[in-house]
């Protein structure tokens, strides 16, 4: 980027959208976690009539009055939603839709009246609240957004523990006597502040996106609230900065949609590549898990085959000996090759073909797998009443069952001579 690109005005706009994104990411995290993502959307739509009314009342473009109007009508919309939900048979989704569309309709009616008022109409600039105009950000706006962000940050830091509790277990919080409703209202107030100050910049619909996207993206990277808040704030900041920079680079492109699309890219990237929760990460984990299940199935079968001749290790002559339920015939070649690579199996030429022999390491693994399998069988046989809640055959017994139960099951296997035992019958020298 050249120096001419980073003019003073651009810097101001960048600062403004960056702060706006960061603040939206911060408070939006709570909205997303509280399953109130679309309440922010409703709030943004519901703010419009307040803006227009304030304009009509004051008679000129007076920012504090308009923002106050927006705040009041936005919160009124949220109150109507919760009133409809609790007092009538109208469900939450319909309530949100009704408030959103009717308030917005009223906003359109009022702003058209403003526009048709001779003298002031063109100066109102209410249109920019629908799609947003980042280019209009001035130094004063940056201070205001900075102030709002600071307030949000302070409130969240001060009431961090309380917010955390209401977010993750509102019922528990209520039972414990925490003021859940006031906390929710406080949260709504913070969201309303973020929305109202963001409206002139990114517009109604896209403001909702800015609340949801950073938090939804951050959710893929962490399961803890603290890191989530930091990450969502950072995402919001980055999204705002990159979006503004892009729209400044390509003239004629409105910043609001670009910011949202940048956010959508960040979100998509998170969905795909985030470790553990991401789609790719989960696919890899599922693939690994399936592979380990395959390995275990073959090793178990191998142990069953060689067990009668222990402590001597009998070579397995043909792959056909392995056929049985539980081994995957289609993938068997690959599984066997993998076991050879891992040093669990040895393949040796023999008259007319090859034979496979378990190595010492392979036998140890096979024995462990077989032992676990038989413990599970024993468990299902002798404690079927527990099986429904405790049996998870994809896991090892030691991870699911209590040690005393395992000892009991082992004794049962030992009594019938079916406990794979490395002890006295261990490998012959």
């Amino acid at each position: 980027m050249t120096t001419s690109f980073l003019t003073y005005n651009t810097l101001i706009v960048l600062l403004g959208t960056g702060l706006l994104g960061a603040n939206a990411g911060l408070v939006g995290s709570f909205a997303v976690l509280r399953r109130r993502s679309l309440t922010g959307d409703a709030l943004a739509h519901a703010a419009l009539p307040g803006l227009a009314l304030a304009f009509l009342a004051v008679g000129q473009r007076n920012l504090p009055a308009m923002l106050a109007g927006a705040l009041v009508s936005g919160l009124l919309g949220v109150a109507v939603i919760s009133g409809l939900r609790s007092q009538t048979r109208v469900k939450e989704d319909a309530a949100i839709g009704i408030v959103l569309s009717v308030f917005f309709g009223a906003g359109v009616v009022l702003s058209r009246i403003v526009q048709n008022t001779p003298g002031v109409g063109s100066k109102a600039g209410l249109d920019s609240y629908i799609l947003g105009k980042t280019a209009g950000i001035i130094r004063q706006d940056v201070f205001i957004i900075g102030g709002v962000s600071l307030v949000s940050l302070l409130v969240i830091l001060l009431a961090y523990k309380e917010f955390k509790l209401t977010v993750f277990d509102p019922d528990f919080a209520r039972v414990q006597g925490w003021p859940v409703l006031p906390l929710d209202l406080l949260l709504m107030g913070l969201i309303a502040l973020a929305v109202v100050f963001g409206l002139p910049m990114v517009g109604v619909v896209l403001m909702a996106a800015l609340l949801i996207l950073p938090a939804a993206a951050a959710r893929f990277w962490t399961d803890r609230l603290g890191p989530l808040l930091v990450l969502a704030t950072a995402f919001g900041l980055v999204i705002g900065l990159i979006g503004t920079a892009l729209s400044a680079r390509y003239a004629g492109m409105p910043a609001g949609p670009i910011i949202v699309l940048v956010g959508a890219s960040v979100f998509l990237l998170s969905v795909l590549v985030a470790p553990r929760r991401g789609v790719l990460g989960r696919a890899v984990a599922a693939w690994r898990f399936r592979r380990s299940l395959d390995d275990r199935a073959i090793l178990r079968r191998l142990y069953d085959l060689v067990e009668p001749d222990l402590p001597n290790l009998r070579p397995i002559e043909t792959a056909g000996e392995l056929d049985r339920n539980g081994t995957n015939r289609r993938r068997r070649g690959a599984i066997l090759a993998r076991l050879v690579r891992q040093g669990a199996l040895r393949v040796e030429p023999d008259s007319g073909g090859t034979v496979m022999t378990l190595t010492e390491d392979g036998l140890r693994r096979a024995r462990a797998v077989a032992r676990d399998q038989r413990l599970w069988e024993q468990f299902l046989l002798h404690a079927p009443e527990l099986a429904g809640t405790m049996a998870d055959l994809s896991q090892e017994t030691a991870e699911v069952l209590p040690p005393d139960l395992i000892a009991e099951l082992e004794q049962g296997l030992r009594d019938t001579g079916r406990l794979p035992d490395p002890g006295p019958r261990g490998l012959a020298p």
């Binding site: 679309l38 319909a94 009616v109 619909v205």
Partner: protein, 462 residues
């Protein structure tokens, strides 16, 4: 007075055929007025509004019932890129390409939302928000960037310019018919056909999707067909009412109708009526205020919804308040009768049977209940002292006291409650124990003569 038949749900203050006629008049009269006072352009505007909003309202019923309202909202935002792409590919503002593009994007919205919440484990509302805002942003970008030199501007798509639609017309048989009339009419017919042909399937999938699947209806296909229809209707209406206010026509009439009716067909008719009213009154309102027709339609819809919230026959706040008041009046009357009866008994001091509820109840309900008792001839005023029971009143009171003491005996016999825990539950339940239940209790307890406190249980008949 305390018979079970009375405690059943009463019909609302308007019911059955009378409701239908009242409803028809409530829709027809204002609409006729609006048509009568408008000029020709105005009449066409109203007609186009009706054609655009009635299909939305009908399909909206399914969305509201299945709690998919916000999916409707999302689709109506998300069709924007479909419209833009259809326009870029075909070069036409109205036509099959745009409708097809919108339908594809509509289905895409539904699929992507499901995919995100299932595969990505994102909460449903958040994934909906992510999908539609992103698609909407892409649509705005496409329109402002690629279509800036033609008459497809974001404002027109967002707010709709129904005022201008009648101006573009062509004569058919001597009458100037707006161009968009045909497109909207076609979509309305298609909606009608869709709902009629798939009535049974849609009904079953809406109310019991697992059952629908069990009887061999492919619920997924029906679901996505519905979503495609919603997208199609949305895009047909966007010119008239704008893509954002389509949400109003999708959700608000259906939600209003849901407050008025419990049957799908009636709900759809009511929703259509609301949609017609929105178009007619919305247009007149817009003319009066010199403002946006689409916005005014949404405002009228909101006003009608608010009216329904307050006035609906069963679900309305007024009706529910009246039901509650009736119940508390009946309980107040019965408590007074029982109190007088116990005073008459004189055999034992009233003691713990003293009316605890009376202190809680507001004074005016008590006063009203007294007046009703006097009017009904259940109680007569004596010149001095408290009022006395008439024979009619005594019979009622006997039933109530009998119910109370039978219930106390029952609780004491079967639940081992200590004597001081018997009165309160019996005081609450006595109002809901009819002759049938009294007979059963009597039989179960082998016709006891006295309750656990030792007071005699009055016989069913003296």
């Amino acid at each position: 007075m305390s018979t079970p038949s009375e405690s059943k749900a009463r019909p609302g203050w308007l019911a059955g055929r009378r409701l239908g006629i009242a409803w028809l008049l409530a829709v027809a009269v204002p609409t006729a007025w609006a048509l009568a006072v408008s000029d020709e352009i105005g009449r066409w505007t109203i007609a186009l509004g009706v054609l655009a909003s009635v299909p939305c309202a009908v399909l909206g019923c399914y969305l509201v019932l299945r709690q998919l309202s916000l999916l409707g909202d999302a689709i109506s935002h998300a069709v924007l890129p479909g419209i833009a792409l259809g326009f870029l590919l075909s070069g036409q503002l109205i036509g099959p390409a745009i409708v097809a593009g919108a339908m594809v994007v509509g289905i895409l919205t539904a699929v992507l939302t499901q995919l995100l919440s299932r595969l990505g484990k994102v909460p449903e509302d958040a994934s909906l928000g992510v999908v539609f805002t992103s698609l909407f942003a892409a649509g705005v970008l496409l329109i402002t960037h690629a279509a800036s030199d033609v008459d497809l501007d974001a404002g027109c798509v967002l707010y709709g310019l129904i005022e201008l639609a009648p101006l573009e017309s062509s004569p058919i048989g001597g009458i100037e018919v707006p161009r968009s009339f045909w497109g909207l009419g076609l979509v309305a017919l298609a909606t009608l056909g869709f709902v009629t042909l798939l009535w049974k399937e849609l009904l079953l999938v809406s109310f019991d999707a697992p059952l629908a699947t069990a009887v061999g209806i492919n619920a997924t296909v029906i679901h996505y067909a519905l979503m495609a229809m919603v997208a199609g209707v949305t895009v047909a209406a966007f010119e008239a009412v704008g893509s954002i206010l389509v949400v109003a026509m999708l959700i608000v009439p259906a939600a209003t109708a849901h407050l008025l009716s419990d049957r799908l067909l009636r709900m759809m008719l009511a929703a259509s009526g609301v949609a017609v009213l929105c178009s007619a009154l919305g247009y007149r309102g817009a003319v009066a205020l010199n403002s946006s027709v689409a916005g005014m339609m949404a405002v009228v819809a909101g006003a009608l919804f608010a009216l329904a919230v307050i006035m609906a026959p069963h679900q309305g706040m007024l009706a529910r308040a009246i039901t509650r008041l009736r119940l508390s009046l009946r309980i107040a009357r019965e408590d007074i009768l029982a109190r007088l009866y116990r005073d008459e008994e004189q055999t034992s001091p009233v003691g713990d049977e003293a009316p605890a509820a009376a202190s809680v109840r507001t004074r005016w309900v008590e006063a009203l209940a007294r007046r009703q008792l006097r009017r009904g001839g259940l109680v007569s005023d004596s010149a001095s002292g408290p009022p006395t029971l008439t024979d009619l009143g005594r019979a009622e009171a006997r039933e109530l006291v009998r119910a109370h003491r039978l219930w106390e005996s029952y609780l004491s016999t079967h639940f081992d409650l200590p004597p001081d825990h018997l009165h309160d539950p019996a005081e609450r339940l006595e109002h809901f124990i009819g002759p049938g239940l009294r007979a059963e209790l009597d039989a179960d307890l082998q016709a006891p003569a006295a309750d656990p406190h030792g007071r005699s249980i009055p016989p069913e008949r003296p």
